[in-house]
């Protein structure tokens, strides 16, 4: 069943340029979506827990899908992933690892920590666009999301 509501995306990425790239992409998608971005793991966790400024549901809606980079300052991606997947409240969230690391150990660790998907950022921008386009198609159009767990 296709959801009529816009898909809420949270991007956790420390590189502002990359974040900007993704923002523009998701904006250009036909499927309605709300794109939010945090720069580090600490912010990501606060966002999910509706802490501080993130208590504002309108500006910072609880996401359906999280795009998570692994290399983050303060609290790294793995910690964020573990936090999400061990929490009864956030476990249901679709977490897509989006990182430039193709290292086996990172991939293993991500999946062991119950990442829903793992995507590697390609160097070639066309490829990158391709990935992101498909990303959009799959995750926005077809994937069905669970409703948020009540607080």
């Amino acid at each position: 069943m296709r959801s009529q509501e816009p898909i809420k995306i949270l991007l956790v990425e420390d590189n502002p340029d990359h974040a900007e790239l993704l923002r523009r992409l998701f904006e250009s998608y036909l499927v309605k979506n709300i794109f939010c971005h945090v720069e580090d793991g600490e912010q990501a966790i606060a966002y999910l827990n509706r802490q501080g400024k993130y208590a504002d549901d309108l500006r910072y809606p609880y996401p359906n899908i999280i795009l998570l980079d692994l290399r983050l300052p303060k609290v790294d991606g793995f910690q964020v992933l573990e936090h999400i997947k061990t929490s009864s409240r956030h476990r249901h969230l679709v977490v897509v690892i989006l990182t430039s690391s193709r290292e086996e150990r990172d991939i293993q660790r991500a999946y062991q920590a119950y990442a829903n998907s793992y995507l590697v950022k390609p160097l070639n921008p066309n490829e990158m666009m391709d990935v992101l386009r498909h990303l959009g198609l799959y995750w926005l159009k077809w994937n069905v999301y669970a409703s948020p767990v009540p607080n």
């Binding site: 340029d17 990359h18 900007e20 720069e39 300052p73 666009m129």
Partner: protein, 815 residues
């Protein structure tokens, strides 16, 4: 013949003749002249004849007289008494012997009836038989008693014979006389009595003898003529049973022994031949009997009887058998023993003579019994060897004690080495014998020699081997737990390796020598000594400050031997190697991390560049120049970042590759320089920073330019992470350390969380992504200090608590 009767004298003869003539009827007148002449002639002739006859008669008479005298003498001297009795029993004649026999004189005897002389007891019998005797005296022997004045009576034997004496004249009727030969049986009777007594005695002897005496008669059929009463005691069968069963004798004999008897029977019995057979008694018990049989033959030489006696020789036989067995045992023993045994007799002169040797002796020496028996040692083997042997025997003799010695002898049996023991034996107050027993130890000696050589070799090995060796006895407590061990033996290498001398060590326990010996040594050795199997291990002992590789094994339960080498050096090298490997691995990891980081951090701007280029193209197509410009700026920054990164990398690599000549200089100078350079920055920021620089900063040895870079970066960092506080303060100081100098740069800035403290020296690590710089500075510091042989680290109590960055520089001989 009575002596009274004599030849008539011529006187009486004439008278007799005249008498007869007168009786005769014939007269002389009637005869013719011729007849008278004839008669006269015949008369003359007759006269001559008569004269002749008379002479003849005279000689005959003389002869007769002589003969009569002779016969009278004989008659009277005959040992046999003679009586001449008539039919009525009157004694007509008797000889002197008879008279002497009854101590009577002849005239007392003659003309008396014979019964006068017969003893009263026998008289009736004689009288009743006399007639029959007279009629038929042949073969009749009468024994009776005659009266004797002194003895009462004497026994005589009468043998009668009819005599018809010549008639005196023809007119007489023929008288029949009985000639009685009277033999004095006194002696005979006495002899008979003695014999009877003797027989009785012998009978008693036999009857009472414990031996079995018997006589088997074969005529008419085999039967027991006599079996002594002892048969009952010996065989269990009474003599009567023997008489009843003629073959009982055979039945008694053990079936296995019968053949022996049969052999005798066929070969013929030899008198005095003793036969020893087994008999089975009536009660079933087996006994040994020794028989001696004497065959009795009749006049024709036929065997008619067997006389014998038999003794119960069971005891003797058993003793014999026992002796035989004993002898056999002794023989077996003597000759079965492997040692050479010999018996020497010491004669009174002190000479030694060989009496006997056993089989082993004969075999081993090659000298037979015949060769050795009775000889002295010198006679046997010659002067040289013999005197040596004698000397040994003499030693035994002199000491009176057993002596043992070894000797090597060349004998017919070969050259062998012996361990000989001589034992003196006393008899009759002196040492009469010497018993020698010699064990052939040739092989043993050879083996011992081999062992000795072997030992020698091992001794040499022991003394010269490079590895330390210790033989120890384990000591256990009451619960069977190992608590200590005692040194029994150590080799020179042990001394060298441990620095402990053998004299110090042997007999002492480990805990005595090394009181703080680690327990693991004792536990391990305990396991080995208890039979837990060989252990090879490496262990460190703090007391001696050494590492040993030990091989411990158990030669005997409760003991262990340890062979060990000092591997301290090796351990050190190993540790170094480990360190090197770890370093390399670390460096490798770092490199890997580095590569990863580099590639990632370089990729990142590239993604930005390429990504935004696409958007720029899009913007140009759409005519959105503003957006395009903004995006191009992003692209530029990204490219610059890449450039900076690459330069940083280059710098880092240069530090390793290009080195300036190191020198000795006071670090204080470098600090001042760095602070000066920093002032520009501080002023630029418009801030005031407190600087505190410790006095007496030491001399250091290193690359001045690089160390300046270190100070600069550290100060830069401190400045960067000052935070928003009002009184920023930077402190620079140092402390002394063994072999190193430690220097620090302390700030009271934002501090670093524990988790981040490790990361910050990493390349491109930035705690605050927004901060200036590319995260190269600290990495550079780390690199430079490490090249100097030092280390970097940071101390911080956490966020807001400031940080202290430390680095160390090794001391050299100059500093």
């Amino acid at each position: 013949m009575t002596e009274n009767k004599q030849l008539s004298s011529s006187e009486s003869l004439r008278q007799q003749a005249l008498a007869r003539l007168s009786d005769s009827a014939v007269s002389l007148s009637e005869l013719s002249h011729e007849q008278i002449l004839k008669l006269a002639h015949e008369l003359q002739v007759h006269q001559i004849e008569l004269e002749l006859q008379n002479e003849e008669l005279k000689s005959t008479t003389a002869e007769l007289e002589r003969a009569q005298l002779l016969f009278s003498t004989i008659f009277n001297r005959s040992p046999t008494g003679y009586l001449l009795l008539d039919e009525q029993g009157i004694v007509q004649e008797a000889n002197l012997t008879f008279c002497n026999l009854i101590k009577s004189s002849l005239d007392q005897v003659l003309g008396k009836p014979v019964q006068t002389f017969i003893d009263d007891a026998d008289r009736p019998a004689f009288l009743s038989r006399y007639r029959a005797l007279f009629r038929q005296p042949k073969d009749k022997l009468i024994e009776l008693r005659l009266k004797h004045p002194q003895k009462g009576f004497i026994w005589v034997r009468l043998q009668a014979e009819r005599l018809s004496p010549p008639k005196v004249n023809e007119h007489e009727p023929q008288t029949e006389w009985l000639l009685l030969a009277v033999v004095d049986l006194t002696a005979q009777k006495a002899a008979e009595q003695a014999l009877r007594l003797s027989e009785q005695r012998y009978r008693n002897l036999i009857e009472n003898s414990r031996d079995l005496v018997y006589r088997i008669s074969f005529v008419p059929q085999q039967h027991f003529e006599y079996v002594s009463p002892s048969a009952t005691a010996i065989t269990g069968y009474t003599p009567e049973e023997h008489y009843a069963d003629p073959y009982l004798g055979y039945k008694l004999i053990h079936p296995e022994d019968l053949p022996l008897l049969q052999k005798i029977a066929t070969e013929g019995i030899k008198p005095d031949q003793k036969l020893v057979l087994r008999w089975r008694r009536k009660d079933g018990r087996l006994i040994w009997m020794e028989q001696q049989n004497t065959p009795i033959f009749d006049a024709q030489g036929n065997l008619i009887a067997l006389e014998g006696f038999a003794q119960d020789v069971t005891e003797r036989k058993e003793a014999e058998l026992a002796l035989q067995n004993l002898l056999q045992e002794y023989d077996v023993l003597f000759n079965g023993v492997q040692d050479a045994v010999f018996l020497i007799e010491v004669d009174e002169a002190g000479e030694f003579r060989y009496l006997r040797t056993n089989l082993a002796h004969q075999k081993k020496t090659g000298i037979s019994l015949e060769m050795i028996q009775g000889k002295t040692p010198i006679e046997l083997v010659g002067e040289e060897l013999g005197s040596v042997l004698c000397a040994n025997y003499q030693r035994c003799l002199d000491s009176g004690q057993p002596v043992t010695y070894e000797e090597t002898l060349d004998l017919p049996g070969g050259r062998r080495t012996w361990s000989t023991t001589l034992t003196p034996v006393w008899r009759e107050g002196r040492i009469k014998y010497i018993v020698g027993a010699a064990t052939d130890i040739t092989e043993q000696k050879a083996a011992l020699e081999t062992i000795h050589l072997s030992k020698q070799r091992y001794r040499t090995l022991f003394a010269n081997m490079v590895e330390g060796f210790a033989l120890n006895e384990m000591i256990w407590d009451d619960n069977g737990q190992p608590i200590d061990y005692r040194f029994l033996e150590v080799n020179p290498a042990f001394e060298k390796l441990t620095g402990l001398k053998a004299e110090q060590v042997i007999g002492k326990t480990a805990r005595q020598l090394v009181p703080r010996l680690e327990a693991h040594w004792i536990e391990r050795y305990g396991e080995v000594a208890a039979g837990g199997g060989e252990q090879v291990f490496e262990e460190y002992t703090q007391e001696l400050g050494k590492w040993y590789e030990v091989r411990a094994f158990c030669p005997k339960p409760g003991y262990f031997a340890a062979v060990f080498i000092d591997v301290t050096q090796r351990k050190r090298l190993e540790a170094e190697r480990e360190q090197l490997i770890q370093d390399l691995q670390r460096k490798n990891a770092e490199l890997g991390q580095f590569t990863y980081t580099v590639s990632h951090d370089l990729k990142s701007p590239l993604i930005t560049i390429l990504g935004f280029l696409a958007f720029v193209e899009q913007s140009l197509d759409q005519g959105d120049l503003a957006q395009a410009k903004a995006d191009l700026q992003r692209i530029r920054f990204a490219a610059e970042k890449m450039q900076a990164l690459l330069e940083g990398l280059l710098e880092l690599s240069r530090i390793g590759r290009v080195a300036n000549a190191p020198s000795c200089f006071p670090i204080g100078e470098v600090v001042m320089e760095a602070v000066q350079l920093l002032f520009g920055n501080i002023q630029h920021q418009g801030r005031t920073v407190d600087f505190e620089i410790a006095p007496g900063l030491p001399l250091v040895y290193g690359d001045r330019a690089r160390l300046l870079q270190v100070m600069q970066n550290l100060l830069d960092n401190a400045l960067k992470y000052m935070g928003e506080q009002p009184n920023p303060r930077i402190e620079i100081g140092w402390r002394d350390a063994p072999d190193e100098i430690h220097l620090f740069v302390r700030d009271n800035g934002i501090g670093i969380e524990a988790e981040q403290q490790e990361k910050i020296f990493g390349l491109f690590e930035k705690l605050d992504p927004r901060a200036q710089g590319y995260g190269v500075g600290l990495a550079l510091v780390k690199r430079i200090i490490e090249v100097h042989g030092g280390r970097v680290w940071v101390e911080s109590e956490g966020e807001g608590k400031g940080s202290t960055f430390w680095f160390s520089l090794p001391k050299t001989h100059q500093t």
